[in-house]
Amino acid sequence: MTDALIHLENVSKTYPGTSVPAVAELDLRIPKGDVLVLVGPSGCGKSTTLRLINRMIEPTGGRIIFDGEDVTEVNADNLRRRMGYVIQQIGLFPHRTIAENISTVPNLLGWKSDRISSRIDELLDMVGMDPSIYRNRYPKELSGGQAQRVGVARALSADPEVMLMDEPFGAIDPITRDRLQNEFLRLQEELQKTIVFVTHDIDEAIKMGDRIAILRQQSQIAQYDTPEAILAQPANDFVSDFLGKGAIIKGLNLKRMSDIEPDRIPAVRQDASPDEARRALDESSDGRILVLDEQDRPLRWIDRSAVEGDQPLANSGYEVTAVVEPDDTLRDSLELMLQSTASSACCIDDDGRYRGVVRIEDLTRFLAAMQQAERERRAESDYEPEQVTLS
């Protein structure tokens, strides 16, 4: 990994009055443009590690290299202005409007006011909040999810190269968290920031990380690899224990519906003639076909019995309940399939149009292939899982 944007070089932190370091001789390279997740049990020093990067905590040993420059001794305030910082409790300024909150760092950097103003609108749009509604609101008028969106927008305001995020979605209800995670991943696809993301939740780590560093006491790296590799081959007992049961299920979080090629089961529009429907049914390998509306959105499953009567196709068969979007993870779709009567899910594209159908068997086949590929990659590169021993 030569293109590390940030390199923590044997960084240590020992708090005054203690002899045991909170972070001991940590050597960590943070690759440019990736999401690196620091994950580990509580008290392992992951938050401390994150806060060492922007020197919210001053290291007591080692060096911090940022973009080729030693920033261990430079002015910490200037360093922090180059790194977005998002914390779990968000910390929006309650006495300032959303717009004023977002303009904090641009103001510090002396941007012109019209540039700041257009940046505010751009960022609010980016995080899915209507600027005309929210610009002049105060933080107390926002829900938890909205506040965290503003928190992310504020951290992005001066377009920092690096984002440091300390359990940003930790205090948010599971449904909103899931939505924020997905939005965040979509945003990151576009922005390609270098992100260091701290969480204690291995599922979140697997979902969000391009790379994961699993940390044990004193921020020692138990394993540092891609989520796929960690799931396929945990480096040691600590990692296996931390992953817990159900590594395969967790692996389903890694892939999105857009990665899987759905089975194009024939479909007809709801105004199709019975003959058309019958022809489509003849072609179907499944004994069923889908009925779509005018915008090609899936409406109902029908089988042969539906075309024997006279009733319109839109009322026959049974309703399509499991619909998955390209950004949904395989795990989301598995959940939907198990709930639905069809044990299969309709894939739609970003505009809601029918793409095809995925069944549970397709998921298991896909997973098996994924694990096989990972094992082959390992075998080719003679990979030796890094063994970490506690001294």
Binding site: R80, Q89, L92, F93, P94, L108
Partner: protein, 218 residues
């Protein structure tokens, strides 16, 4: 009923003195809360990250407030002579504790997450103080100043004992003339106008608080 009539007659008769002494009284309140405010808020800010200095400052201000005002006035006469200064210095010492206490509390009670995010965005510690901590602590600090103003309004009545003037003059005069015509009326006049002045200041603080509290935390 007769008492009330003679009381109003007395007020009408003495209105010029009431206004003049009322202004003197108000000058005590204003000068004390301005000076006390500057010193206490300054101390609160200066000691915000120094727990020991902060506790010492609070302890000293507490001791000040326990000193009997009468003794204090008399002690100051050799230093400041008679008139405005002995009461001013004593009242100033009394005004410190409420303002200092509320400054310390207000600054300490700012949500740590807000401070953390401010620092994390690269605000210097001075910027954190003036852009974040002070605006958020301000309503609490202002309440401290308000308490000091009311405290000063009451205690300033005693300034008259060292020829310091103020509405206390009516009370002293009434006491010396007790039993004689207009003795009781004079005491009542001093008391009622001190209370009215205090209420006036209180109303001014309510207004000031509304005007100076940022909309987001109102």
């Amino acid at each position: 009923m007769d008492g009330l009539v003679s009381f109003f007659e007395y007020i009408v008769d003495q209105i010029d003195d009431i206004i003049e002494l009322g202004i003197e009284h108000a000058i005590y309140i204003l000068s004390v809360i301005v000076c006390g405010g500057i010193v206490s808020i300054g101390l609160g800010i200066w000691t915000r990250n120094q727990p020991i200095a902060r506790e010492v400052a609070l302890a000293v201000a507490s001791v000040f407030l326990t000193l009997p005002s009468l003794a204090l006035f008399v002690l100051f006469i050799p230093i400041f002579g008679l008139g405005f200064w002995p009461p001013f210095v004593a009242l100033f010492m009394y005004s410190l504790l409420p303002i200092l206490r509320n400054t310390v509390t207000g600054l300490a009670e700012v949500n740590p997450a807000v401070m953390e995010s401010a620092k994390g965005m690269g605000l210097s510690s001075r910027q954190v103080l003036w852009q974040v901590q002070m605006p958020l602590a301000w309503p609490v600090i202002l309440t401290g100043i308000r308490v000091s103003a009311l405290l000063t309004a009451g205690i300033a009545a005693i300034a008259t004992l060292v020829a310091g003037g103020g509405l206390g003059d009516f009370i002293k005069e009434g006491l010396t003339r007790l039993g004689l015509p207009n003795g009781v009326e004079a005491i009542w006049t001093g008391t009622v106008f001190i209370v009215l002045l205090a209420l006036l200041f209180d109303a001014a603080f309510v207004l000031l608080r509304r005007l100076t509290t940022p909309a987001g935390i109102r």
